[in-house]
């Protein structure tokens, strides 16, 4: 038996596992870390808006302010989980590259397996719950609906472990409905901030549509992340404009 044959006999199952693990990372190597920065920018935008919405809730006790705040906190936390998980995976993979030993690569990835699983599960569950909460501001939900949708979100997250695109498709549908609500709002009020908000959410929706196809080419992951960055940067600009335009406004 040749050295090559012995090696394959010993490590074949592990290599298959390694391949499966690596396939879950869709970013090209040169983009490692940059997507984490994009996610952290999104976290900042979401938590900032959530903070102000919570402040307005304490002032007015309007339930919608509270729902918006919770929804944005959930989405912010979701991106935080994604960023931490990606950071762990990328640093482990880089370590592997430096050592160049297949056995060590396997061990490091296995040690982060649980974190990888929990991290991405939390990212997906929190994101979908956040989006659903945002959706429920504009389409009032009764208790039965709430339970049903939360159950469906859990199911969708569970299946997205093996088919990642299920998560992005669910997010896409929720985001599409939310964006069309913001578009209707723009047609009603005609405020510049309405236009900014609808455009930002449209970009976030488009990013989810691109994320569905990232398995085709790693470059699609980069494009999706960049579109997402534009969306959340737009959301941040929208909020800054809200504060500025609000101050300027006279009596109606």
């Amino acid at each position: 038996m040749t050295y090559r044959a012995v090696f394959h006999k010993l490590f074949k199952p592990k290599l298959v596992f390694l391949k499966a693990m690596i396939q879950l990372v869709y970013s090209p190597k040169w983009f490692y870390g940059k997507d984490i920065i994009i996610d952290l920018i999104s976290v900042f935008a979401l938590l900032l808006i959530a903070f102000f919405s919570a402040k307005y809730y304490s002032l007015k006790k309007n339930k919608n302010h509270l729902l918006l705040a919770i929804s944005f906190v959930l989405m912010g936390l979701s991106f935080l989980f994604k960023a931490i998980t990606n950071f762990t995976i990328y640093s482990n993979m880089l370590q592997t590259k430096q050592l160049g030993l297949i056995m060590l690569t396997y061990t490091t990835l296995k040690s982060s397996n649980l974190l990888f699983f929990i991290g991405f599960l939390m990212y997906r569950v929190l994101m979908l719950l956040g989006l659903y909460l945002l959706y429920s501001i504009y389409h009032k939900q009764d208790k039965a609906n709430l339970i049903l949708i939360i159950y469906l979100i859990m199911i969708s997250t569970y299946f997205s472990r093996s088919a990642y695109y299920i998560f992005h498709m669910t997010a896409l549908i929720l985001l599409y409905i939310i964006t069309s609500e913001y578009l209707k709002n723009f047609k009603r009020n005609k405020l510049p901030t309405n236009k900014w908000l609808a455009s930002s959410f449209a970009l976030i929706t488009i990013s989810q549509a691109i994320f569905i196809f990232i398995k085709i080419h790693t470059l699609l992951y980069v494009i999706a992340e960049l579109v997402q960055l534009m969306g959340y940067a737009g959301l941040l600009i929208t909020f800054i404009k809200v504060l500025k335009d609000g101050k300027k406004k006279g009596k109606k």
Binding site: Y138, Y182, K184, L191, N194, G246, K247, K249, G250
Partner: protein
């Protein structure tokens, strides 16, 4: 049909009316400008004085209502909140 004004809308209308008049206004003018009944305005004025958003002063036998710095800051906050609500459709 126009929607009923909320409490924060009324407070904003009152404080904004004082600001529009250069920071001081007579109570009767405020009542008309903010579109309030006498009793209603009395209760709002009391609350705003307690929160230090306005002050009552007497000048040449006339009573004036003056907006304070805290009141002006609160107007900005309320206007931003209103813009936030309109933007997000809350």
């Amino acid at each position: 049909m126009a929607r009923k004004r909320e409490r924060s809308d009324i407070v904003l209308d009152m404080l904004q009316s004082i600001q529009d008049k250069g920071g001081r206004i007579k109570p009767t003018h405020l009542m008309y400008k903010a579109n309030l009944a006498h009793q209603q305005m009395k209760s709002y004025l009391e609350e705003l004085v307690n929160k230090n958003f306005i002050r009552k002063v007497k000048e040449n036998k006339y009573e004036y209502i003056i907006i304070t710095d805290a009141g002006s800051r609160f107007v900005n906050k309320l206007k931003q909140m209103k813009e936030f609500e309109e933007t997000f459709g809350l």
